[in-house]
């Protein structure tokens, strides 16, 4: 194995200090999120606290904390019933279908748990505009109208202009264009919004800054505050909606889920027009590293987190990850999740038969069903598959 200098902490840069060209915004949201996370002691909540949270009409951050606590575990069934009612009240039977499109897996970061990390020996690939167009055409032919464009973090291989070109191409085929790319400055988000993107999702991975430092050893992603403030910059850049996620299992999942919810809650208070969404990933095995496995976040804990998000912010969209098995996903839609991916390929160039230069995937998926199969599963649950639930204006 080659020598990796960042494994020695003395060779790492300060993860809390912004790098040149990283925009610093005037905001105290991160401080509030971290204060809430640090003050949270999941074991301090009692059954009575959870009962109060369940009975509340409008739920406060304290209620949310109770719902995420171990004391809520025995009341998972009750949470599920309430969450189902809230989901139906806000979203009816509608479940939106979408698919992610990975356009480049070049990455300059060194995140020890990620299959794209710069030291992981995978096959790298990047779609050129013709390749992107080909992939999008193939996806659109399945009937999907909502696409999420993803890249690894490499400003040299996948520049903002390159991502913008992908957005413009996407607007030819899709009603909704979302981005899950590296954090950008406000002006860059504004540029991508003009190119056709309306949604930005940034996975914070973990809000535990000490743990974050140990996991993100190099690259721009190492800079913790720049990543936390990405959603706020995206909203300032004119994006309609922003998505939040912690990769559950990297640190204390209850505290990370609390921070994720508080981050979304605080930003919605500050930007009331913002559409809020949660993703709920947990660690999955990656290529070349058998030690990375989901440990303490089993399905029961994952479901508790998802239900707590729903009960805390009933109007928020919730996306259920392809990392989970079909049986889990099919039950969570309608109960809490409002968006489900279909026909997923997490590699590069896997949607169209003509793609020759295929790159490896970021992680292993558990639900490889096609769009017609997922659509049929949604209908089988008595729900309504929706291809478009937004409008770009």
């Amino acid at each position: 194995m080659k020598h990796i200098r960042e494994l020695d902490p003395r060779n790492r840069i300060d993860h809390m200090a912004y790098l040149p060209d990283m925009e610093v915004i005037d905001s105290d949201v991160m401080e509030q999120v971290l204060a809430a996370q640090q003050a949270y002691t999941p074991e301090a909540f009692s059954t009575a606290d959870v009962r109060e949270a369940l009975a509340a009409g409008t739920r406060t951050p304290r209620h949310f904390a109770a719902l995420l606590s171990p004391a809520a575990d025995p009341m998972l069934e009750e949470m599920a019933r309430l969450a189902t009612a809230e989901t139906q009240r806000w979203f009816g039977n509608a479940v939106t279908l979408f698919t992610p499109l990975y356009i480049s897996n070049y990455c300059e970061n060194y995140c020890v748990y990620c299959g794209f990390n710069r030291h992981n020996r995978i096959h790298r690939a990047k779609l050129d505009p013709a390749g992107i167009d080909r992939e999008m055409r193939a996806i659109a032919a399945t009937g999907l109208q909502d696409i999420l464009i993803l890249t690894g973090e490499s400003r040299s291989s996948s520049s903002v202009e390159y991502i913008g070109e992908a957005c413009r191409l996407a607007r030819k085929y899709f009603r909704a264009v979302g981005l899950e790319v590296y954090p950008l400055n406000t002006e860059e988000y504004a540029y991508l919004h003009q190119c056709g993107a309306d949604y930005v999702t940034v996975f914070q991975e973990t809000y535990d800054s000490d743990r974050y430092e140990q996991l993100h050893l190099a690259g721009h992603k190492r800079i913790f505050p720049y990543r936390v403030n990405a959603q706020e910059r995206a909203l300032r850049g004119g994006m309609r909606g922003v998505g939040f996620a912690a990769l559950l299992g990297l640190s204390d999942f209850r505290k990370d889920a609390l921070a994720t919810g508080m981050h979304a809650w605080l930003l919605q208070k500050k930007y009331p027009h913002a559409e809020i969404a949660f993703s709920c990933p947990r660690l999955r095995p990656i290529i070349n590293d058998d030690t990375i496995n989901p440990k303490d976040v089993h399905e029961r804990q994952l479901l508790q987190v998802i239900l707590a998000y729903r009960l805390f912010m009933p109007f928020a969209g919730i996306t259920i990850s392809t990392r989970e098995r079909a049986g889990f996903r099919d039950h969570v839609i309608g109960m809490a999740a409002t968006k489900i991916s279909a026909g997923v390929d997490v590699g590069i160039g896997g949607h169209s038969d003509e793609s020759s230069d295929r790159g490896d995937g970021q992680f292993e998926i558990s639900d490889g069903r096609s769009v017609p199969e997922v659509r049929a599963a949604v209908l089988a649950r008595g729900l309504q598959p929706v291809m478009s639930d937004t409008i770009y204006v």
Partner: protein, 261 residues
């Protein structure tokens, strides 16, 4: 009930006449719901979220709407007047006609309408020949401004969208009924047939409902219940509410009849 129908009690909006005063909202769609609303509740107007339309594509809600009903496209997703105008134009290009239900919201938590932006958009869209039905928070001054701006009806909210809380704004809607000459259509919050009936008794011209039916255990039966309740409430309004119902005790003979002139 039949007497209501016999006296040609109709609702006119934008030059179109409707015998039904039930409008199906668009928040929560399903094929069953639309069929039930049309067949069992007699809905002749169905709202359509333009953001959900997928013309020519899969699972397009336009495919589910019977051709004989009047489409009322809404501008949900608009955060200001400019966006609402663009969405209305898009609806017209899609062949949805000139009716538009104006919805402008800048808060994703409560989904309350922005009255000021709604007035601006109403003015612009009515100049472009749209039949504008603005969703608004019930405020008399705003309603008057909307009339001036060219609205075809006023659509005050009964309670927050999807809340099923009924007529939380009852007293303010009554003021609009009393003072505004345009049809007043209660939008949002109506969760039970009894609430729809109460609104109609107050003299509103029509009721829009969606969640109360969409989330019912038996959608067709609940649609029928709403249809009946709206007709009952309208009949009660036309019959003029009786003494007990309207203002408490009232002697059947005049109390001042003994006075000699």
């Amino acid at each position: 009930m039949e007497a209501v129908m016999e006296c040609n009690d109709t609702l006119t909006l934008g030059g179109k006449t409707f015998s039904s005063r039930f409008i199906l909202g668009s928040g929560k769609y399903s094929l069953d719901l639309i069929r039930a609303a049309v067949d069992r509740a007699g809905a002749q107007i169905v709202t359509l979220a333009v953001r959900r339309a997928n013309p020519g594509g899969a699972d397009d809600i336009l495919d589910y709407i019977p051709k004989e009903v009047t489409l009322l496209p809404n501008t949900s997703g608009a955060r200001n007047a400019d966006e609402a105008v663009r969405i209305a134009r898009l609806a017209r290009e899609m062949g949805c006609g000139d009716f538009v239900k104006l919805e402008i919201m800048r808060d994703t938590r409560y989904l309350l309408p922005d009255n000021a932006e709604t007035i601006r958009a109403t003015e612009r869209l009515s100049h472009e020949g749209f039949v504008v039905l603005p969703y608004m928070y019930p405020d008399l001054y705003v309603a008057r401004d909307l009339v001036e701006a060219g609205a075809a009806a006023i659509m005050p909210l009964g309670a927050p969208i999807g809340s099923n809380r009924g007529l939380s704004t009852r007293d303010f809607i009554q003021i609009l009924v009393n003072e505004i000459k345009l049809p007043i259509i209660v939008d949002a919050g109506i969760g039970r047939p009894s609430q729809a009936c109460e609104a109609m008794e107050m003299g509103v011209a029509a009721v829009m409902a969606n969640t109360g039916i969409a989330t019912a255990g038996d959608v067709p039966l609940m649609a029928e219940a709403f249809g009946l309740a709206i007709r009952a409430g309208r009949a009660a309004y036309l019959a003029r509410l009786g003494r007990v119902l309207s203002c408490g005790g009232e002697a059947s003979d005049p109390l001042t009849g003994f006075v000699r002139s």
